[in-house]
């Protein structure tokens, strides 16, 4: 008898098929979208990446970091340094940024994993501040006031402004695809099974042979390296970097937590949906100034009260929907009786 372990449902298969034309349409965006729309879509893709990554960290591994801006800023600064100071082509710099993110986050993990709960959260924030203060010391990168990406580096991406906007969008689209792909791959691997078990009951997971520290370490390092890549792309799009913008807890952590919480923490679909909701709110309410932030706060409170598992958690509890084939289903057992 053979057992067939499948994670697909009819809906998730339909979704994966539907994904093909959606991705093709998005790749073709420079031909049908205006320059402003393209920039907005790029920003959405990058925020979605940050949200999916933070959700993996907090929602699956239980590592509630409020200091992921450390890696956004690190990635941004390193990208500027590698291209402007070391003279690398931007395409060569991007993979190096990911690698450097892995390398720098490993000792940070060893340090902050000694802290638990709220102390861990505070620890991550302190690390981010240390990163900010360190980069503010580098006078070659403009010190406290920051620096702009030199025009020849921008020009090396593509000729002409429209072509550059298109490249920036493709990089953002590629990044979000890479991030979602990496997270799906991780969650479907043995480490992913371990992560789900740890999230549910750490004690039982430990006594079943799951190495909690190593599992969390893997997640932290993976998330940090990819967050650094997103940081590089954010500041490639902005063309200017400064310590306050690069290591902003508000922009790169608070909004990201909002997105994950309203979308549904601990689900892959949640942060994706949350990003779309967040940008829909921002684009319709941003003109209202401060009222916009009050509205965001109200939305967060209402969702936490009435759908504590977020919008996606609410939909899933209602209809049992799952777009990404992550839950394991085994078939083949019934055949034995037949």
């Amino acid at each position: 008898m053979t057992l067939i372990v499948t994670r697909r449902t009819r809906l998730s298969t339909a979704w994966l098929i539907l994904l093909v034309p959606i991705v093709l349409l998005l790749i073709a965006a420079p031909w049908w979208a205006g320059r402003a729309d393209l920039r907005l879509m790029g920003e959405i893709a990058l925020y979605m990446s940050l949200a999916v990554l933070w959700n993996l960290l907090a929602g699956y591994a239980g590592l509630v970091s409020v200091g992921q801006q450390a890696y956004v800023g690190f990635g941004g600064y390193l990208f500027f340094a590698l291209t402007m100071l070391a003279g690398l082509h931007p395409y060569a710099a991007l993979p190096l940024v990911v690698l450097a993110g892995f390398v720098i986050s490993a000792p940070v993990a060893v340090l902050i994993f000694r802290l638990r709960g709220a102390y861990f959260a505070i620890g991550t924030w302190v690390v981010a501040e240390v990163f900010r203060l360190s980069f503010a010391q580098v006078s070659a990168l403009g010190g406290g006031s920051g620096t702009s990406l030199s025009p020849n580096i921008v020009r090396s991406l593509a000729d002409g402004r429209d072509a550059r906007e298109a490249v920036a969008w493709w990089l953002a689209l590629g990044a979000v695809s890479l991030v979602i792909g990496a997270v799906v791959w991780l969650l479907r691997s043995r480490q992913g099974v371990a992560l789900t078990a740890i999230r549910d009951n750490e004690l039982a997971a430990r006594s079943l042979g799951i190495d909690i520290w190593r599992t969390k370490f893997t997640v932290y390092v993976l998330v940090s390296g990819l967050t650094a890549l997103i940081g590089a792309l954010i500041f490639l799009q902005k063309l200017r970097i400064s310590p306050d913008a690069a290591f902003s807890a508000n922009d790169w952590t608070a909004f990201v937590i909002f997105i994950v919480v309203i979308g549904g923490i601990g689900t892959l679909e949640g942060p994706i949906l949350g990003t779309l909701v967040f940008f829909a709110l921002r684009e319709t309410l941003a003109d209202l100034g401060t009222v916009y932030l009050i509205a965001l706060g109200i939305v967060a409170i209402v969702i936490m009260l009435f759908a504590p598992r977020g919008l996606w958690g609410f939909l899933r509890d209602r209809w049992g929907v799952e777009l990404f084939p992550l839950s394991r289903r085994v078939s083949g057992l019934a055949k034995k009786e037949a």
């Binding site: 078990a197 549910d200 009951n201 004690l203 997971a205 042979g209 601990g266 057992l333």
Partner: protein
Amino acid sequence: MPDALLSLQALNAHYGDFQALYGVNLKVEPGEVVAVIGANGAGKTTMLRSIAGLLRNAPEAIRWKGQAIGALRADQVAALGIALVPEGRLLFPSLSVEENLIIGGQLGRKGPWSLPRVYELFPILKERRHQQSTSLSGGQQQMVAIGRALMANPELVLMDEISLGLAPVIIRQIYEALPGIVGEGLTAMIVEQDIAKALSVSQRVYCLQEGRVSLEGQSQSVPREEITRAYFGV
């Protein structure tokens, strides 16, 4: 004399200032079923947690095939082939019955236990395999917890109060499955408050009282009065 599969040599255990176990000596030989009985708070769960690596304050006192394992983490202990059916079952609530079982086998140890074998042992779980583990009755959840431990193909399974909070008919059902489990050459240590059930399935019995071993003997031949005395300390 060859080393026992598991031996505790003067095991002490503390929770902060509170001492829960005082110099516990105990041996488990391969293939036997050892029962550990005792009243609430006698230190039974503490003992199992110490063995499983969930409490680590006695590096030298716990020996597995002669090797000290008290300093190992829980996951390292599990990799040696020691599985715990924890008190309160501790299933993974967001996962289905089957996923809980699959996770039990994630160490990939070889042995007789597999999904079909667990379903053979507890047929009801096969019917319920796609249900969320927490939607099952208490008895069925206990079967999942036992099946999950078996999926690891352990050499020694530690069962903590598997009858706790269950109806007598369910307890009987679960205990009827035990011979089928230990028949596979598995060694078991069963911690129970239910004296009769514990004696009926085991070869040897230890009684714990206020953190100390108050009685040790053959399950079938220990006089009941002695057990009562060792259990209640009267």
